[in-house]
Symmetry: C2
Subunit: 264 residues, 2 copies
């Protein structure tokens, strides 16, 4: 990457832990390709000290924006002066920028990134019957984006019934019949998505059994490390098409470019 | 420079302004040469918000050290849990590290860097008669290091008499006759040093007239931008040997390497 000077603008990606983040490896080449003298650095903000870290970053005059990962996406909403409609709906922000007037504006590109990632691989979700495992922050963002993209039906599973009900309450009120709970993917599923953490640890059980899906059902995972999760490996072994987690992040790059007003 | 990942450790150089700092261009190659996955970034901490910025940096778990430039070297002493003897004498710190137990230790390498820079260019100051212009923070650091290096005599000039007296009080009590005030370089000066800001602006007057020095007197400047200050240009035009400001910084690199415990 290009050398850093005293004029280089700063961006930070906040997480706890932060060692796993992929954003610097993707966004710094984007800065270079855009001719922008800026650098994205990982900032390990321990959960109990997030407020101190963010106050310091906001007071840093050459810092222009923040990306946010687990577990800070919800808490960071309180540090935004204004939220996009999507971020407000989700109660979660993964990108914040300093506006020309000094206010902080937060958005959330996780769900849009996931849907764009599908489309970039030739998997338009419009009209499909989709089963989603996981009603946490990522699941909620993906569910909202899939509904906005026009899926025919969305069923969501999560062992935490309270969390599942909360997701349905946020999404379902104006979509009777299109979104609902299910213990797992129904047999007519066309796209099954894992948005749980199951698969981060090789000893995890599968989030659902791909053998119960139709032969042409697409199996998608949002876990990026490992690139081939046990779920995707099992699905591939059964001949099912698969979609790895990295596309959700790479397809956020054009959105970051626009959000942070990078040229080109 | 090498790519930044989620595992990259952070260092920051604090200043207000910060656009002029050279440390990232010098220290980042040092990290790379040492095989250390770390990055030094410029942090513009406005004077009134330094405390907020530093609290945030200290709460950042993957940040290991700080470098400090104008105007924060004095204020940063209050953010160190312990100061080196030199930093305590000067009341000024330009480098702080997080100790294994979490405490912050501050040191000051400005003066040592200047003296090492002279030596590296073949100009051992020991035994010389030295005239120093400027009794601010940099002047004080350089004065202390020159005395420690064994100069025969040190005279200091500064239009601010209170500041000059304060410098002499800090340095002079156990060195009667070796250090004193003077309106400018005495005619038998062997080394004349500018530690004032005069020369940053092309319209500035010279800090002293090099024509009044002996033909073989070395004329040194600590200003790094421009590399050839009006003082150095005037001295060179008179045939005097000159010593530019960059050496003071480059000769701090081995000190930073040791201070931040970099391998090699």
């Amino acid at each position: 990457m290009p050398p850093i000077s005293g004029r280089t603008r700063l961006f930070a990606v906040l997480g706890d832990p932060v060692a796993q983040v992929k954003a610097p490896a993707l966004v710094n080449p984007l800065f270079a390709a855009s001719g922008v003298d800026a650098v994205l650095v990982p900032v390990h903000a321990p959960a109990g000290r997030l407020d101190e870290v963010v106050r310091g970053l906001k007071a840093t005059a050459n810092l222009d924006g923040l990306l946010v990962t687990v577990p800070h996406k919800l808490a960071m909403c309180a540090h935004a002066d204004e939220l996009s409609p999507v971020a407000a709906l989700l109660g979660s922000t993964n990108a914040l920028r300093r506006e020309p007037d000094g206010r902080w504006y937060g958005d959330n590109f996780d769900g849009t990134g996931f849907v764009r990632g599908l489309a970039a691989q030739g998997h338009d979700p419009a009209g499909r019957r989709v089963a989603l495992a996981g009603a946490g922050g990522a699941g909620l963002a993906i569910a909202a984006a899939l509904l906005a993209a026009g899926v025919a039906r969305l069923t969501v599973s999560d062992p935490d019934r309270g969390r599942l009900d909360a997701l349905l309450a946020r999404l379902g009120t104006d979509r009777p019949g299109r979104v609902g709970a299910a213990p797992g993917p129904p047999p007519d599923t066309g796209l099954a998505v894992n948005a749980t953490p199951l698969g981060l640890d090789p000893a995890d059980p599968l989030p659902f059994d791909p053998a119960l899906l139709p032969p042409d059902a697409l199996v998608a995972d949002i876990i990026m490390t490992p690139a081939e999760t046990p779920l995707l490996r099992a699905a591939a072994a059964l001949g099912r098409p698969t979609h790895p987690g990295v596309h959700m992040l790479t397809e956020q790059l054009p959105l970051y470019r626009e959000f942070f007003r990078l040229p080109g």
